[in-house]
Amino acid sequence: MDAEPSVASRAVAVGSRRRPERLPGEARRIGYLYIAPAFILYAAFNLLPLGQGVNTSFYDWDGITPGTWVGLHNYTGFFTDPAIRSGYVHVLILMVFYAFLPIVLGLFLAALLSRIRIRGLTFFRMLLFLPLVITDVVTAVAWTWVYDTHGPLNTVMNAVGLGHFIPSQGWLGDFNTALPAVGVFGLWGSFGFCLILFLAGVMKIPASLYEAARVDGANAVREFFAVTLPGLRYELQVVLVLSVIGTLDTFDEIYVLTYGGPGTATTVPAYLVWRRAFQSGEVGSAAALGITLMLIIFAVTYAINRLMERGAEP
């Protein structure tokens, strides 16, 4: 039989879920030896740099000459530096595409599809899963072609007589369309994952609940809000956390699709970290940006989990 890691790893994915901790096993100091190799590596390349990063973030440093202590100055950039502010605005807009729309569409489709038994589900699942499995750089390259001057999107638009809406600089080169174009790529990338997860969740909802709702004369909409949505609470929580964190540290597709451009139209915090640390020599600022991003991710993860758990209590 399969080992059943599902429950615990789901708890993992949503972070702080408390489950009754049955403290396993017997007291054995040899435990330290089993943990040690992983911990040493983890401490050296995650925990230690984290501390160093906090330290660096208090300096104005170009990476070469000795830095000067500037206190929290690098952090105030979050409020005063227009590049950073617009980076976060962009990431918020992307969240609509990376998190909100895929979840809404996924829920809608899962609810529709829950009413029938799907034959060949494994096959459909595999297709829907491909955008997630395949390397980001590869899928982003595929989408540069989708958006190309003579690519499929423009071909369709020309064919249906909407050619005059095509921006002259191309979808990824136009100040107004570049960010939504990246967003659509993200929607494409995360939609399948949401649908697969929700479909799996729907199948675990006892059929008796649906029957009871129908006996009560519930229509499809009522049924969705009374049975399907509450039944998918876990899945929703997982998807929310993963997709919001995923959006906050978006980097690969920005690098491939737009390099943050045109101008700064698609810069996001992760991209700013990379550029300031390794391109423009604003190392202190880059460190502060990274730490800020982490704190925001912690806060958002905590908030989502609290919110979803409170919503669960009757």
Partner: protein
Amino acid sequence: MTTTSRTQVTMNYLLLIFVSGVAIYPLVGTVLASLYPSGAGNSPTGFALPSGFHWGNYVTAWKVGGFAGSFTTSIIVAAVMVPASVVLSILAGYGFATMRFRGSKVLFYLFILGLIIPTEATIVPLFYDVRAIGLLDTTWALILLEVSGEVAFGIFWMRAAFLSAPPSLLEAARIDGASSWKTLWKIMVPFARPAILTLTVLTFADSWNEFFLALVFTISHPTAPFGLASFSGRYTTNIALVSAAAVIVAIPILIVFIVFQREFMRGVLTGAVKG
């Protein structure tokens, strides 16, 4: 079954076919585009087959893009990183699941934290640390960083798998007087094989797809995705060649996905896929 429900069923299938089609269209289109004659003037629209299949694009892309080198890097990294990460996760996961010791809870939560610490928060000092120990621009840097980034997830996964073992298994081993080491490899690992296989597959995918770390740490011998990113930056107008390069980079992960589909699904359905 009434007629309305039959139309409903048909509609649902059409819908499912449509969304699956949207999911794979850019990928299938890229494969088609890769077979067009290469050159700036040839623009695949994505709705017509090329006049002839120009398989030569793959040879050209492979050579011009230096993929022999970047594939070697990626394969070496994965070949060292995946077993290392999985073994470390098995060891630590076993420790957390079956033993009690002072501070085990704190240590475990420290690892949990690793699941949501973004690389961006550590990348700046990491660069200077790695340079200080003389590993900048080496495959070793990438291997070490990927393993240390992956163990947080691996430990969770393995701890959960070992926790699901029936207590009688451990008890039997204890009565036999087996050491903890022997119990792990002779009893727990065989029991947790499916979970270990899933972890291995997911870890490989993470390693093959890694881009940010590769961009920072392997400047002169890029990984396959890094090689593709630079290639597509240099040949923006040559869609056929860039598409061929993209397909080349996708093939290994595609093969692993098709072969280990079940394991991928198990990973995802438990909501544990990172990134």
